[in-house]
């Protein structure tokens, strides 16, 4: 099997300018521009076999995009060697090079040639592209007159119709709606069947596991783990899990506000043995423990908990002590616990918002918006189910038509 991409000790730095001098005056006044080197890639070794699908995973800022851009020749590494055998189409953005004044047709040829697709190829695919975009006669209207949906569909239709030897797909493609994503994955599967080489970046480990045979996990610009995608994803998850428990579930993003009359001093996720954890399994008991401190005795308090998907922040479920008929009357320090006997979430990562609010006199004492996170792993004892939540259901089949 031949090698499509080969990296040896690839280093890439960016200059982080403290004060960027772009004009003559600045250049003259400050003789030397001050900058620090930031090494985004620190000696990356990589080998991608031709005809395989390869995943890149890692936290934000781990060098994934820099690596992709280096493979696409957009960035030149400072050191090391990087060999790419074959034509490359980078899908780092939809509609690259589209010009608003040009018609859809003209933009397809222009955008196509920027993605390394020649006129004949676009011509051959033209009807497919226009069909998929579903824009009909608008194909000969300037794209500035398109609705944003039409624009996105046209750009997307072009993107999935490129036909390179090596395809680089960035996360951006997964921002489209569900049907876009389905089409995209279908197309990637098609290209994979045809024996093209595909390199993809994704935060979604399930995508990496199901689409890629091999993967690499980057951390601070170095390869943490490389190999079969299952093993790499598992290693990455374990690391994230360890991180999560070390940081007692504090998510990096999120905000806090409130009067502070009653404070949330900590939130932990507790398993059936009363031990704080960062990761749980589906259908296991799950408890959120909210520690509080009230500066003075306060009654008429409700505690609210909301659980969201970390992937797209969709709101999965929420509970309030008030709705459950519990009026909180707090003084000093203590803990409030909310327990689910059986966690209904499937494998994935989730973020949590916790708030203490007034009931009769509305007002927020303390709200920690999306500041906590936990992970859920598959529970091997359960039957297979898909989706984000686990629900119980039963199947029956009647050999004769059911009477209406």
């Amino acid at each position: 099997m031949s090698i499509a991409i080969e990296c040896h000790g690839v280093w890439k730095s960016y200059r982080i300018y403290h004060q960027r001098s772009h004009t003559l005056k600045e250049k003259v006044l400050s003789r030397r521009s001050r900058y620090d080197d930031f090494w985004a890639l620190r000696g990356v070794d990589l080998e991608v076999q031709a005809g395989t699908t390869f995943g890149i995973i890692g936290a934000n800022g781990s060098g994934k995009s820099t690596l992709m851009k280096s493979l696409a020749r957009i960035l030149a590494p400072n050191r090391g060697s990087l060999t790419v055998n074959g034509t490359v189409s980078p899908l780092l953005e939809l509609g690259t090079g589209f010009h608003p004044e040009l018609t859809g047709r003209e933009n397809l040829f222009l955008g196509g040639s920027l993605l390394g697709q020649n006129r004949a190829h676009i011509q051959a695919r033209f009807d497919d592209i226009v069909d998929f975009a579903g824009i009909g006669e608008f194909i000969d209207a300037p794209v500035k007159n398109y609705s944003s949906g039409m624009y996105a569909r046209l750009a997307f239709a072009l993107a999935i119709n490129v036909d390179p030897e090596i395809l680089l797909v960035d996360e951006v493609l997964s921002v489209g709606d569900e049907s876009f994503q389905m089409r995209c994955y279908q197309r990637i599967a098609e290209l994979r069947m045809e024996g093209r080489t595909i390199v993809m970046v994704s935060h979604n480990l399930d995508t990496i596991r199901s689409m890629c045979s091999h993967a690499v996990w980057l951390e601070h610009g170095t390869v943490q783990l490389a190999g079969e995608s299952d093993a790499v994803a598992a290693g990455y998850l374990a690391e994230v899990h360890r991180d999560a428990s070390q940081h007692s579930g504090l998510a990096p993003s999120g905000s806090r506000h409130g009067t502070g009359r009653v404070e949330i001093t900590g939130v932990t996720f507790v398993d059936r043995n009363g031990v704080a954890q960062g990761a749980f399994r589906t259908n296991e008991p799950f408890t959120v423990r909210v520690q509080y401190r009230a500066k003075e005795r306060t009654d008429d308090i409700a505690c609210g908990i909301a659980v969201l998907s970390a992937q797209n922040l969709s709101y999965l479920f929420g509970h309030s002590s008030n709705a459950a008929g519990l009026d909180l009357d707090l003084d000093g320090e203590g803990a409030i616990e909310f327990t689910l006997p059986s966690l209904p979430l499937m494998q994935g990562s989730y973020v949590v918002t916790v708030a203490l609010e007034g009931v009769k006199q509305p007002g927020v004492f303390d709200m920690h918006d999306r500041r906590y996170s936990f992970l859920v792993f598959e529970n091997p004892t359960l039957s297979l189910q898909a989706g984000m939540v686990r629900v119980e259901g039963s199947w029956t089949v009647s050999p004769s038509p059911v009477a209406a």
Binding site: T23, G80, S81, L82, P90, E93, E101, L114, N118
Partner: protein
Amino acid sequence: MGKREAARQRPPRPPLRAEARELWRSRELIGNLVRRDLKVKHRGTFLGMLWSLTTPLLTVGLYYFVFKVILGAQPVSDYPRPDGHDIPFAVYFFCGLTIWNFFGNSVALAASSVVGSGYLLNKVYFPRAILPLSVVLSSLVTFGFELCVLMVSVLLVVGLPSAHMLWLPVIVAVAALLSYGLALLLSTLTVFLRDVAHFIGVFLQLWFWATPIIYSLQFVAKRSGFSRVLKLNPMTGVVVSFRDVVVLNHAPPFRLLAYDAVVAVAMFAAGAYVFSRSQRLFSEIV
């Protein structure tokens, strides 16, 4: 890791020949970019591409009106055609202006061609030299339209051109090479120093007046020794040669043209060298 070691391990830059081959392989993209530039320029206007013809027509009409009707300018006579035909000043001026515009527009627009395409540099790879090249080529197309109007007005007002017209491709090639070399140089410079974009307008205006477009070389030669300095300006030979073959039916001044060709090749070499050395930084800085 020491600086010297880092330099040694850096991947070798592709030699200029490889870059030229890559440019050739990207000719379809170049064509599309040129087409985009031309289309966008006239898109949404009533006359569309016809403007490419209308603008020079209006220009030549305007010059005729100003110089002949208002100022009562005499036909240019300090370097007459062999057949003795008078050359109205408007035609004389328009002729020099046509080839100058090709050069001036190329350089002015190409200087910001890299900076203006930051959105592309960060998303796809293509030989970066395409950016100034496509600007020079679209200026060349516009020049083609102006040349048509110029030839028609020469035919109507002055008379048939001579066999010296065969030099035209050589003269245009020298102008194009000079433009592209300067475009490579200035587009690189603009990336690192945005001031260049502002500076170029003034710079080109000075250059315009230092080139015998509105006056003739003979006119300057008669009055002062200043023409020696003018002859150092590589555009002097281009404009004079162009006017000699298109309007005046003379052979071009070969020594001057040869000098221009040497300068153009040197300019191109310098531009290509600087551009090719710096292009890896473009996507990070722009």
